[in-house]
Symmetry: C2
């Protein structure tokens, strides 16, 4: 499992304050804590207005890279902000995100290819968010075809089948899970990623739903997730999932997490 740490996001008020005041210490510490907790990428999302987002994203990327060696995942709907952010990245970054929308697919994929970055592709197009597994798989195939045409390796493509709220439409959990296994089967070599919080929107006991959903999606082939690595229950589920899928050699990762006291609360 590849973990993208989601905490440095300007929609969190404390992060927004840090961006506005250029509090590098706060951002560096958020990055360090996530890296120590197991993040493979540190997502940075400025969440500021179009007049300043590119500058903010560059500052966030530079600040994170000053604090940790973990690569950055640049998170913005704004292609120009992604472009500016990439110029500030020294390692192999990730872009969050492309989609199959006209004007966004080509531009973001070309940007990723030019900089050798990995890229998240959301399975949505100009018709909006898909409802069924089949629609998600069809958009995934379109995204991968375009990415390969541009020259991006499958190992650099992370498809996000977009979890939608089960409280709104009861069948959306199953549709997402079917999409994960469908993408795995029809597009070997790509990664499948998701954010977790949408699934439990408007539900009580959300962390239980998010954690259970992550385990179920891992069983279907999800191999990356955008999450808060400081959520101990979620990381304990990742740790257990790795063991149960045979991805934890000799179960040593799990045993070490247990010895470090990171599993006790969740067992």
């Amino acid at each position: 499992m590849i973990i993208v740490g989601e905490r440095i996001n300007g929609t969190r008020s404390r992060v927004k304050q840090a961006i506005m005041a250029r509090e590098a210490d706060f951002v560096e510490e958020e990055a360090q804590q996530q890296a120590e907790a197991g993040a493979d990428y540190i997502d940075v999302n400025a969440g500021t207005g179009p007049d300043r987002e590119a500058d903010d994203l560059v500052w966030l990327a530079r600040t994170v890279q000053a604090g940790v060696s973990t690569p950055v995942c640049l998170d913005s709907p704004n292609v120009e902000a992604l472009r500016a952010g990439l110029e500030a990245c020294t390692g192999k970054a990730m872009l969050n995100s492309a989609s199959a929308e006209e004007g966004r697919m080509q531009a973001v994929l070309e940007l990723a290819h030019r900089h050798g970055a990995r890229v998240i592709g959301l399975t949505m197009d100009d018709a909006g968010l898909p409802k069924t597994a089949e629609q998600r798989i069809a958009i995934a195939q379109k995204l991968v075809a375009k990415a390969e045409e541009i020259g991006i390796d499958r190992d650099d493509i992370f498809l996000d089948p977009l979890a939608r709220a089960v409280a709104v439409e009861n069948e959306q959990g199953a549709a997402f899970l079917d999409a994960v296994s469908g993408i795995r089967q029809s597009l070997p070599g790509v990664h499948v990623i998701c954010g977790l919080s949408n699934i439990s929107f408007q539900m009580p006991a959300r962390r239980l739903l998010n954690r259970t959903f992550l385990a179920m999606a891992m069983a279907q082939g999800l191999d990356a997730a955008i999450l808060d690595p400081l959520d101990g229950g979620l990381m304990a589920a990742v740790c257990a999932g790795r063991v149960l899928l045979g991805q934890d050699d000799m179960c040593m990762g799990y045993i070490e997490a247990h010895r470090a006291g990171r599993l006790a609360e969740w067992s």
Copy 2:
């Protein structure tokens, strides 16, 4: 999800004591607590010697039925004990278990058919416990072919692909999960069941592994489990899993469990 409550098992010393002393109150209360916690069947396993097991199983079945209306799952490797237990059952019982071993397959399946009972079929034969998903699926097919030849409906067949310890063989979790989806695809209409505790044998933080494994197996199509319904974390995972698979209409089961305070500790 069909829940088989596993607590009335003579290998637990307190249960053994109750069997020896014919403490009906204790057994009735164990049955009632499991039924209230969501058990659809109450498993009874005497775990006593061959000279008295049939008598003990009959007493357990009668005692459980005096306390709850939930049907009984008769649990014994001894065909004669199952036969005696069935005579004491008034409703549609479940037999735990048949296997594809010579002498056990035919006898237990015929017994189930004669009494209209449901039956658990372990995917093992005279060669022992299978290692791979393919071996499990092949034995499952043999069991279902024999059961149908005898006249048992698929809806009365519960196949258990037998979870084996990941601590001993790292790949056994994935092999089990692949077997669940393989059985679902190749044998539509049958149920897939499992016991949970073997998977985490010799590992620390076992309840975390068991709970995560249950969620993963539900995603692959597991629709029944033999477990302790008084394990709040396990039942919370079942509750979340039902929502995420679209099996909880309007999410009402989850919302009610939340209101009753059964999820708070696990979120």
